[in-house]
Amino acid sequence: MSKKVVIIGGGIAGMEASITLAELGYHATLLEKSHSTGGHVQDWYQLFPNRRPAKEVLTFSELRMEGKVKTINDADIIEIEKNINDFRILLRNGKLVVADAIVVATGFDLFDAHRKEEYGYGIYENVITSADLEKRFSEGKKILTHDGAAPKRIGIIHCVGSRDEKSGNNYCSKVCCVTGVKQAIEIREMLPETEVFCFYMDLRMFGRHFEELYKESQEKWGVSFIRGRLSEANENTDGSILLKVEDTLAGKPLKMKVDLLVLLAGFVPSGGTKAIGKMLGLPFGDDGFITPKDEHTSTNLTDIQGVFVTGSCTGPKSIQDSIADARAAATQVANYLK
């Protein structure tokens, strides 16, 4: 009778952890709160750094899950009971799932850009988020202003809801910078007549081929970069957006009109991370993410026997990070259960 592992959270990390555990011979059950697995990757169009379709990565995982991992969608967990030898997870629909080990893979949400009030999201129609833009790409929609016109200039704002005491998040969300560079290229490819300006404080091109992507955005695609964090966005009479920023390299305040403004929204711990973490009594850092047993040597372990963590619930991660982390978590679970 093989040991039972329950993976809470059906995003890319949860999926990968469940597959790896199944392939190692464990009985893996994946609990997903929404109607389908795949998490945020379902919402993405092309992935950095090489702009391959996000669907391919999802399909890679989904195919390997088939027949090996038991998936329960619409699984709303209301209680987790820890006994001496196992865990009992109670779902809202009354179903009880028993586990010998739990992997928490509840992930992140995107920062709600409404809360960055001075940027006008939800007030000015031509202000959208990176996720809104990604959706337009995915749906094959044209990139137009609210009035249906082709934008002559698009602004992309870095660090929305990140590195921002006012938003309540001091941390860097890691992947937004390279997302901004990727989206800038995608816009330029789609709309060769449209100027694209990225407004940044730093350009965090941390991964392999990221710096080269930045170089390509400048050399091949003519994306412009202005080092200055957006201070305020206002709406002109024609619906275009007036930006107030400082070009810090020139040392001068700058006002610029854009037809469409894209806010690169950062990561926040998801509602599920907060709820499940609390249910299990896991420690949270000042940043709201779950703190593992040791941030260098034991990033998938917790102080609770049999409870493991993986993916963005312990901090912002790229898809590559999440997949690798999920497999690492699986080996830790195997080590525990043997």
Binding site: E165, R229, V245, E246, T248, P253
Partner: protein, 236 residues
């Protein structure tokens, strides 16, 4: 040897105002003074946080710290919780304490403020009152103001004021005992010391510049600092 920085740290506004700056520029982006003057609050904060004695001394003696209008729009935006406006307040206080303010055209104006607003506070208990805004010195107030200045009691009392009267009401005569308390507060808390310091260094500067410094608002030095603008304060 960061003596000036250490002195700044003694000011509670400085401790409130400076955490650490990441040079994002949201303050300069929104600053009205940065639009019109050759002024960049981000650069000032960045200089101050280097703690460099020479650079801070140059700030204290220079024009730029006097361009801020203390609107505090910067505080609303800074993602690190800094307040360039409060740092400016601390720099201005230190500049006056050390007498450096007289080295800049804008800094020298502190005497004008002391002899108008400062005098008004101790003499009347108000920072500003109609008599202080004399029509001749304030043509921008327009012909309506000029007319009202000639009929202060009639107009103001019509509007419900208690012009120079006893008891409550707008523009009342603030009782002597209250003014005495203000005077004692100014004495104990260093308010008078600040006023004296401004006068002392201004007097030295007036001698240096060969301008007569009387005790009111009509002398050579006063009119010089009140009206001189070298037209080099704006961006190129």
């Amino acid at each position: 040897m960061n003596k000036l920085f250490d002195k700044l740290q003694e000011d509670v506004r400085f401790r409130e105002g400076l955490k650490a700056c990441i040079n994002c520029g949201t303050c300069t982006a929104i600053c009205p003074a940065a639009e019109f003057y050759d002024y960049d609050p981000r650069q000032i904060v960045d200089i101050v946080q280097t703690r460099d004695e020479e650079k801070i001394e140059a700030l204290l003696k220079g024009e730029t710290i006097w361009y801020c209008g203390e609107c505090m729009s910067c505080k609303t935006r800074c993602p690190r919780g800094n307040v360039p406006g409060l740092i400016i307040c601390a720099l201005r206080s230190l500049s006056q304490e050390l007498g450096y303010f007289v080295e800049s055209e804008k800094g020298r104006q502190q005497l004008a403020l002391k002899r108008t607003i400062g005098k008004s506070i101790l003499k009347t208990g108000y920072c500003v009152s109609p008599e202080l805004v004399a029509a001749k010195l304030h043509p921008e107030q327009g012909p309506m103001w000029e007319w009202s200045q000639q009929h202060l009691p009639e107009i103001y009392n019509r509007l419900g004021a208690n012009y120079k009267g006893d008891g409550p009401g707008a523009l009342r005569k603030i009782p002597e005992e209250a003014l005495d308390e203000l005077a004692r507060i100014f004495e104990i808390t260093g308010g008078n010391k600040r006023f004296e310091t401004i006068e002392e260094f201004s007097s030295k500067k007036a001698k240096e510049l060969g301008l007569e410094l009387d005790s009111g608002t009509d002398g050579e030095y006063f009119l010089n600092i009140y009206t001189t603008n070298n037209n080099r304060h704006n961006k190129k």
